[in-house]
């Protein structure tokens, strides 16, 4: 499998392209994307933490990930790389790509058309799986993210738990869980 990381050397930040390559390689292998070409482009001019992904976009073969440098950064040490942040950021977009490629998510809108509750529901589903792959995650951080989009209610917490523990959801079942929590919020 080919993982390509650009740039190969960084000037704005002290990142290691080899480490990014290794982490992407390991996660892709663990989630069944071992044969898919992956291109990762890091925008080191911005400290933001966005990651954008496309699949067979006509320019790049396979999966293309564009990440802001903040996505891989150690928040304790500005401009230094964090292995955990790199794994979490790459893992969640690779799992989203894997969901789209392996079926069950055909009706999911393109990433830039997902609603904020849908994004947080999908992230919860992805991060829960990453934790089971052995990647260090802060569960409370993701619960807070989910509550911000689904309400600070028992129903939202229940929906979070269901998404976090799941391994084989479809787009329809993921949305149903998210919608059930939103419905409680909107009726309160």
């Amino acid at each position: 499998m080919a993982v390509t990381v650009t740039p190969e050397t960084f000037s704005y930040v002290s990142f290691d392209a080899g480490l990014i390559h290794r982490i992407a390689d390991e996660i892709a292998g663990a989630i069944g994307l071992g044969d898919t070409p992956i291109t990762i482009e890091v925008d080191e001019t911005t400290p933001l933490a966005r990651t954008v992904i496309s699949i067979d976009d006509g320019v790049h073969d396979g999966i293309y990930i564009r990440a802001d440098s903040g996505a891989f950064e150690d928040t304790r040490k500005p401009r230094q790389q964090s292995e955990t942040a790199t794994a979490t950021s790459l893992g969640r977009v690779l799992l989203r790509a894997s969901d789209r490629l392996t079926g069950g998510f055909g009706e999911a809108p393109p990433d830039d058309q997902l609603s904020l509750p849908q994004i947080s529901a999908w992230e919860t589903y992805s991060i829960g799986r990453l934790e089971r792959l052995g990647i260090t995650v802060n569960r409370q951080r993701w619960l807070y993210n989910f509550r911000n989009r689904h309400g600070f209610t028992d129903a939202a917490d229940g929906a979070f738990e269901q998404l976090w523990q799941s391994d084989a959801l479809t787009w329809g079942s993921l949305c149903a869980i998210s919608d059930s929590a939103r419905a409680v919020l909107e009726s309160s």
């Binding site: 704005y12 933490a49 440098s69 304790r76 500005p78 951080r141 807070y144 993210n145």
Partner: protein
């Protein structure tokens, strides 16, 4: 115990990662859209970073800001405590005829600083619990120590201007932004806690404004110097456009609460102007740094 503790001597355990203002300023990256031109107050055409739930990274933005509040409260506690300890006590009231307030402060001022320590210690505890609630660990973000640096002046009046008016003024802006965020996101704890801490910060600014006026009542030159120092600190706290009335800044300027704290409209206008200047200067610096980097690359590539 040592008096006038330098910023690098602050006591921190291994969880904390201090970062100086110089290190922060050396970071050439920016989230600002440097091609959009000068920032404007309010909603303009520029990229918007105001912390609201609509931002895709809203919860992470709130967590980062909350950690900034947490370390800011620790440093505010240390600063107010230092002002109680670093200076001798003179008289009871600032206007005592024989009061030499150059290196000594009135007992009542120390009493206010002691009350502020009590408040800040409570704020630290609240911030720890809020961080826990939001999924942030102590020390998860770098600690910018510029806040305590503003509390290191040898003139107590400059400390009042730098800490109580500039730093605590910034706290009013931050707490207002966070309270509104909590309200919009429906986070009951965040909204409630920020509201109560905001009330304390308004009092701290008011104490600073009152003491600055009293202590410099017969010394207009010293008052002028203190207000100039405050302006410098205000600009530092707005570095990179962190706080301004432009929607490009994560933190807004809380005019109403600043007014309650004793800032005049002219003073708030001036802070607004200084903040926009800081945002604009950062954009210019980034454009220049990128041009320099392109030049250096071009020279290297052509062997020139």
């Amino acid at each position: 115990m040592r008096k006038f503790l330098p910023v690098d001597q602050l006591a921190r355990d291994e969880r904390f990662a201090p970062v100086s203002m110089n290190e922060r300023m050396a970071d050439p990256r920016t989230a600002l859209d440097v091609n959009e031109g000068a920032p404007k107050a309010g909603a303009g055409g520029n990229r918007k970073f105001r912390l609201t739930p609509e931002r895709r990274d809203a919860s992470d933005g709130a967590r980062g800001l909350m950690h900034g509040v947490f370390v800011g409260e620790i440093q505010a506690l240390e600063g107010a405590g230092r002002t109680c300890f670093d200076f001798e006590t003179v008289g009871v009231a600032a206007t005592d005829d024989d009061a030499d307030t150059a290196s000594a402060v009135p007992f009542a001022l120390k009493l206010d600083m002691a009350r502020q320590c009590w408040d800040e210690a409570r704020h630290v505890e609240i911030s720890v619990k809020l961080s826990d609630w939001m999924g942030t660990e102590i020390g998860q973000y770098a600690e910018n120590t510029v806040l305590f640096a503003a509390a290191c002046s040898s003139d107590p009046v400059l400390r009042l201007a730098g800490v109580n008016r500039a730093l605590e003024g910034l706290a009013i802006d931050v707490f207002t932004t966070m309270k509104e965020f909590g309200e919009l996101a429906g986070d009951p704890y965040l909204e409630f806690c920020e509201d109560w801490m905001l009330a304390d910060e308004v009092t701290h600014v008011k104490m600073g404004s009152d003491w600055l006026r009293k202590v410099t009542e017969n010394d207009p030159e010293r008052r002028k110097k203190a207000l100039e120092f405050q302006s410098i600190v205000d600009k530092l706290f707005s570095y990179g456009g962190t706080r301004s009335e432009s929607d490009e800044s994560p933190i807004g300027l809380a005019r109403r609460f600043r007014s309650l704290a004793g800032f005049t409209d002219e003073e708030v206008d001036s802070i607004s102007e200084v903040s926009l200047q800081a945002l604009n200067e950062r954009k210019s610096a980034v454009v220049q740094a990128r041009a320099d980097a392109a030049d250096a690359f071009s020279h290297a590539a052509t062997g020139g």
